[in-house]
């Protein structure tokens, strides 16, 4: 009997949202394909964003597994629970930590991120016990074992991982210092007024949040460490200055990486620009943003979309990954944050175009804060129609906002209809324009 054409072997490195969504999308289209999912972190997909909840005992690791544990059996995925150490692009095979090799026909890199290392000379050489990150399950276990009530900790970096780490360390009973290099918190998304509302809230909880507090280096002093700059002596340091693609194992393999970010260079269909048959999705992919810039997109929802798009590309479809309008949400201690559309960033970052938001180009900003609360709304306007929304302390449906932006609704119309986009629990006061609301030129 002649041998049938063997089913193609799809290999996916990484079982978080991008990888597992890709695997499911491939299975939904191809019942016979051989699909192997490799991860060295955890045997089941789990929600990395819940590390803070696991740390403080609000969830168990099992609670964060977002698909049933029999997913691999039902979907007939082969599981390899081991780290990949290298890719042989020409030979289409992977080397595993234990020495085995795995051959593939199509490969998806969905390897995610690691916490960005603190740029201190020699900081990581002796694997110091005081230095932590808060991105992977390994980070969590290490920090969980080290952080004891009564200790002092410095969280370095004014972003989303930093605020989550500061919150849960504070709740565990550590004296928590939250050190933000910039003049105010989270300047990529908030302006000074909003950031002050958040900082006030964080300080109200008892965390020592400091702005304009760059840390230049460290000095050991017995079991403690002294941070140079703020001149602060602490037991532990959590580096939360961002994440970077976990692509170190690909260096020199022939899979092109971006020099600046370390992201896998991909085309519109998420296929590697240098190694055909290899695709990338999620945090590790250098994708094109709506403003034309190219950088990794470190978001849960877009990792899911990229995984699904990459799966179709691997199956041979002619697809393009399109991000669409920006939206996001976060939570700073108890204060929820929702954004959609274009909000100019207060602090320019490498790789991003400067914000063209001058008053003479027709830009305006509408803003109000409900007095005495952490409730704010900001609407960015150009030539009379709304372009972006930022809200703290109340819940909003970003889809409705995005539709208004798309429909080029004027500010007055939007303010009159804001309650249509509310997404709060019942019995909460409706949105109202306050006498203190301001409309200023420029954004």
């Amino acid at each position: 009997m002649p041998a049938a054409n063997p089913a193609p072997h799809y290999v996916i490195i990484g079982n978080s949202i991008a990888g597992i969504e890709a695997a499911i999308a491939i299975r939904n289209r191809d019942r016979d394909a051989r699909i192997t999912v490799i991860s060295g972190e955890h045997p089941h997909p789990y929600a990395r964003v819940s590390l803070m909840y696991i740390f403080c005992g609000q969830l168990s690791l099992k609670d964060t597994q977002f698909y049933p544990e029999d997913l691999y059996d039902r979907m007939r995925f082969e599981r390899i629970f081991e780290r990949v150490t290298g890719v042989d692009v020409a030979g289409r095979r992977l080397a595993l930590e234990g020495g085995r090799t795995v051959e593939y026909d199509k490969l998806l890199l969905a390897v995610g991120s690691v916490g960005r290392r603190l740029p201190w000379p020699g900081a990581y050489e002796a694997d110091p016990a005081f230095l932590h990150h808060f991105v992977t399950l390994g980070d969590l276990r290490r920090l969980d074992a080290a952080a004891k009530p009564g200790m002092s900790v410095a969280v370095i970096g004014g972003g989303l991982i930093g605020v989550e780490a500061a919150e849960v360390l504070h709740l565990r009973g550590l004296k928590t210092h939250f050190l933000i290099r910039e003049p105010f918190y989270f300047p990529v998304a908030l302006d000074a007024a909003e950031a002050n509302v958040v900082a006030e809230h964080i300080r109200h909880h008892g965390v020592d949040a400091r702005t304009n507090a760059p840390v230049n280096g460290f000095r050991r002093e017995g079991a403690k460490v002294v941070l140079e700059g703020p001149d602060l002596t602490v037991d532990l340091v959590v580096g939360a200055i961002g994440v970077e693609p976990a692509t170190a194992f690909l260096r020199g393999s022939g899979v092109a990486l971006n020099d600046q970010t370390g992201g896998v260079e991909v085309g519109d269909n998420l296929e590697s620009t240098s190694a055909p048959g290899i695709f990338a999705a999620g945090d590790c992919a250098q994708v094109t943003w709506i403003d034309g810039s190219r950088r990794p997109e470190q978001l849960w929802y877009t990792a899911r979309d990229q995984g699904r798009t990459a799966a179709l590309a691997m199956l041979g479809d002619d697809v393009k990954y399109r991000r669409g309008t920006w939206y996001n949400s976060a939570k700073f201690f108890d204060v929820e944050y929702t954004t959609a559309g274009f909000i100019p960033y207060a602090a320019p970052k490498a790789g991003r175009a400067p914000a063209p938001t001058r008053a003479e180009d027709g830009w305006q900003t509408w803003y109000q804060r409900v007095p005495g609360s952490a409730v704010t709304q900001r609407i960015v306007v150009k030539d009379g129609s709304v372009k972006g929304f930022n809200a703290l302390g109340t819940r909003w449906d970003h889809n409705v906002w995005m539709r208004w932006i798309h429909e080029r609704r004027p500010l007055a119309w939007v303010l009159a209809h804001m309650n249509d986009a509310r997404f709060d629990e019942e019995f909460i006061a409706p949105f109202a324009v306050l006498p203190s609301a301001t409309l200023v030129n420029g954004a």
Binding site: S50, Q58, G324, E336, K382, H406, F423, E425
Partner: protein, 379 residues
Amino acid sequence: MQAGLLSTYQHPVRNRNGLAWALSALLMAFYLLLYFGKENYDAKDALTRYAHDPLNLLIVKLGWPTGDNGSLWVFNKWYLYAALYTLGMAIGGYFMLKKHGNSRYHRLRTYSLVSVQAILGFMLPIALDFAHRPAWYFSYFFPLKYDLFFPYNLDHMQATVAAWFIFGSFVGIPTLVYFKGKRAYCSWICGCGGLAETFGDPWRHLSSKSDRSWRIEQFSVYTVMFLAFAMLGMVLADGLSAPDSPIHGWANHYKEWYSLAIGAVFSGVLGTGLYPLMGTRVWCRFGCPMAAMLGLIQKFGRFRITAKKDMCISCGNCSTYCEMGIDVRAYAMAGKDIKRSSCVGCGMCAHVCPRGVLKLETSKDVGPHGEIQVWTLDL
């Protein structure tokens, strides 16, 4: 995070450990004493009369005065139970609000539940009893209160009271549920739901979210609903049939069996006793015929939980803290609205969601939230 949920998984009695099993055994033992102690109505003196009823005996031994015929009159074990029940709800409600009182929805519904229990479930019946009037619990309806239309109740029920219960059971509560969801009864009024939401709140994360438990739930809850309506049919047949009909005997056996198996064992001993092991709504989820009936109405009614499209981060808080074992996250990840007959609308999923993805809604129109589209931005 929700500060009150800190260390849920490190807590000594919230994780099915030895203490949780011991507490479960204690609760079951209490319900066994409550339901299975029998008063001997022929006995002359109090101690003999309550010899087989440990809780009443305890009341007598503690020095509570007995009447001439050895009766405890108003203060019998059922009022002891009601007092403990109300106290448990008040204390549980206090701790529940310490955790979740930052939500106005939770504050209002907790006040409502505790007030309904304190007034309609405790003070009013005891006052009626003192006044030598029949003591009714006006917040319980058929089929949850399965013996509402038994002859021993109907015989001394005034017409206005009967009208209240008939209207409430078959028109009032169902209509409310059609417009506002099952939560209007289960999470705002009901005493069983009230105990679960307050005293039982510490164990809400223990309810199983597996497909298997969902299948068992559907089988068991609709079976009990069928049994409850079958009993109503028998009671009616019993009332309408000739005096020598064998139906009387069957109806009596059936009523006794249902009272024992469902009324005492399922809703009491297991329903509350299993809180520390299987989550808070064991009875509501697997057994309550009223929940089953109202769930069917909810399915056709206006209540739903809307999931904001594309904002879920799969964290797991909603599913974990759903006391009815609904895998809320699966819906939120798919951006699908949740319309499940079992949902009691407690609102915890929306409350603990760190991204504001879920919203309890009853508006008639679908609203502006119902579309998915990838928008592009031109500046």
